[in-house]
Amino acid sequence: MKYEAVIGLEVHVQIKTKSKMFTRVAAGYGHPANTLTDPVVLALPGVLPVMNKAALDAIIKAGLLLGCDIAPVCKWDRKNYFYPDSTKNYQISQFDQPICLNGSVEIELPGAARNIQGEHKSIALTRIHLEEDVGKLNHEAFDSLVDYNRAGTPLMEIVSEPVIKSAEEAYAYLTSLRATMIYGGISDCDMEKGQLRCDANISIRPVGETKLGTKVELKNLNSISYVRDGIAHEIQRQLAVTQAGGTIVQETRDYDGEAGVSQSLRSKEMAHDYRYFPDPDLMPVKVDAAWKAGIQAECPELPFAKQTRFQNDYQLPYTLTSVLVWDRALADYFEEAAKLAGPGKAQAVGNWIVNDLQRELGAAKLDLAASKIRPAHIAELVKLIDAGTLLNNTAKEVFIDMAATGESPAAIVAKKGLAAAPTDTAELEGWCREAIAANAKSVAEFKAGKESAINGLKGPIMKASKGKANPKLVDETLRRLLAIS
């Protein structure tokens, strides 16, 4: 019997706000334990929560970017459970009226090859709701310590429908979702810092079956690759159990990405009754059309839309767009440089950015923003090459100098005397005639139809010109002289 996998993802994304969800103390990462706290975070007797509007703005933006329906009212509920990572022993969350409903995440599946665009698919969302993050427990040999710095950080829970079919789709889903959040300025989504966390609900069923199989929840998927690997592993595990005649038990499993194994954390019997009820300390907040419109106006173009536009407006190939559009800063950088370079030069600009600039940044471990090479430099470089002033091989030297000094390409060319030889001069023609005269064998071969033989003539010319001859002109001049000789 053939089986298919059915996967739903629950993704938690921390919202990047200055202060916490329900109090003014700063939100942040990497601070000494329990320093980002105040009476509200610590749930001292008598304190009350007050909603951070910036967090609500951010989740509405996320919802608009993902095509969700935005609820007219933001309502708060308490989720009651005892655990030391929560100071109140309830979490303020949204139960029956999430702020965002429906919507979808567009994904691209891997293409037939790296340079071929893959199939696009839309993964439906169930809901997105807003809540507060909990603290962190650190278990030591004889003690467990708790750090409430993270407690109260605004947190979104993004729940997909169970429509994801494979580990690869899950990977593509998270990649796209993460880019959307970063694009929107909603979160940095750094998984190492816990800014994006993913749990996967996985089941299998015979192909053709419409009922869902027994699901297993996979937790602690600490990177996007681990999500993919963990899901692939769990699907294989369920297939093996089923094919051996066993049954899948509803349970929560912990995936160890390094070891590539999972183990059961708890079974269904320990399911909680969270006793949700509306939080009487927080009034529902009306979200009207004007509020939504204000946020809509701040919504950026998303990667796939940008990719289509780059392909249409700049005639960029997929190999370039597939790199450029996933990083908003890089895409903006490209557009600025392309506009400065002028019509017809976008692909050259794209090549310099995707190949040379990216390599340079990687080697220097620099952020794009910190690079001394600005979009205007790339544009000028491309224009100098196009004008024949700069040759490709010398341009690489200019580029390296630019990265180190931040000087403009023209300044570097002048400083180093790297300008190509003046074009269409008698000197160039003289070098060509000399080369033809001195290399009878190559001339004969070329005339006999061996196209590559012309290269035997170019070497001596470049040598004579000390590398400054414009190869395009050399080629043209040689062909003209050979045709009449």
């Binding site: 008598g46 304190v47 109140k88 927080l282």
Partner: protein
Amino acid sequence: MSSELFNKPISELAALLEAKTITSVELTQAVIARTQTVDERVKAFNSYDTADALAQAAASDARRAAGQSLGALDGIPIGIKDVIAVTGQPLTASSKMLANFVSPYDATVTQKLKNAGAVIWGRLNLDEFAMGSSTENSAFHTTRNPYNLDCVPGGSSGGSAAALAAGEAIATLGSDTGGSIRQPAALCNVVGLKPTYGLVSRFGLIAFASSLDQIGPFTRTVEDAAILLQAIVGHDERDSTSFKTEIPDYRAALKTKKGPWKLGIPKEYFGEGLDPEVAAAVQKAIDYYKSLGCEIRPVSLPHTEYGVGVYYIIATAECSSNLSRYDGIRYGHRSADANDIVDLYFKSRAEGFGPEVKRRIILGTYVLSSGYYDAYYLRAQKVRTLIRQDFLNAYNEVDAIITPTTPTPAFKRGAKADPLAMYLCDVYTIGVNLAGLPGISVPCGFSSGGLPIGMQLIGQPFKEADLLAIANAYDSAHDWAKRTPNL
């Protein structure tokens, strides 16, 4: 009336202070001396800090000497129920759970009183976590009714009412979730006001039931209630349920709002269970209003009978969640012999909470449980809306409603061992909390046994100025409050 400073109202003392006839230090010393004399018997206080109070009084005198008096409350010693946070002072909720907790912050009302120059004086006893109607549920000691030490002072703000009646403070603050200000005020012959829900910030008030709790004043006169209310009201950014509304001059309104008013008498509040002496005293007060030219009309609040049931679902549901934070992890009582985290929760809470608190947490947990939520909590909320609508309908016809505050005068300690009998003490006060309305208890007589009786006036949302004016029309013409207890 006693000529002792500690028995005078704020209005009179403010004039004496302003005229420099007395100093705040003298007044505070008088209150301290009185407390040290009588509190052994009354047991209204959980703790007090005389050095701190005298330092505040001295600061007040210095301000006044420099011509920088902050107004009527500057230098007046005000006692605080031990559920309202005061920086550096204990905050116990009369619970073993918080027996050693000291607040690192001020409640908004505390800050406002400090801004008004008041001398923050002592921590007043209550039923543990404000759950009870007799102050017998305090984990520390039972407060006595100053008019009869064998009787209860009411609750949960029993300490606030008893301390004021006994001259151990000039005014006090309490909190009212189902009658916890008005009921002890009635039983102790003082004025007690529960403001409209949202008028006074709850920030810094230990939560019992968030949608019902309000802080309010205990005073000797309605005029004093106006003075103290003025100091504590106002929108607070730290409390999302605090309401943005124009704040009138309450004291001035006592003079400008003159009536005659239309007053409603709900038949549902004068039925079975009402003590005849209480009924007679309230009737005399109604007659007085009639003599002022007020129109007295019967009104109906048909959902009254569901009040106690609805209250004990909503209040316990909220408290079960609000009290979850007391877990022995970060502060408060922590069991010494726990083996693991679950054991720590169980033992810390089992040892830290008293029986009534546990009863309510269990009830509240039950009504919120999966499968019961719709039948209990959701239905209770719907009935709550109907109860509020009853009042709003009545206010189409009348300006305010008069009822007894309590069915009976103060009862003997230990007399209501059955929790349900105790819950029925609040039968006339609970509806006001469920409807979010302002209510005030005003002394209106004594029983043949010498115990105080109070009447309740119920006003319209955020119309405290009218409610106080109506209450003052009676209070300023009677002198029940001047009958101080023999201690």
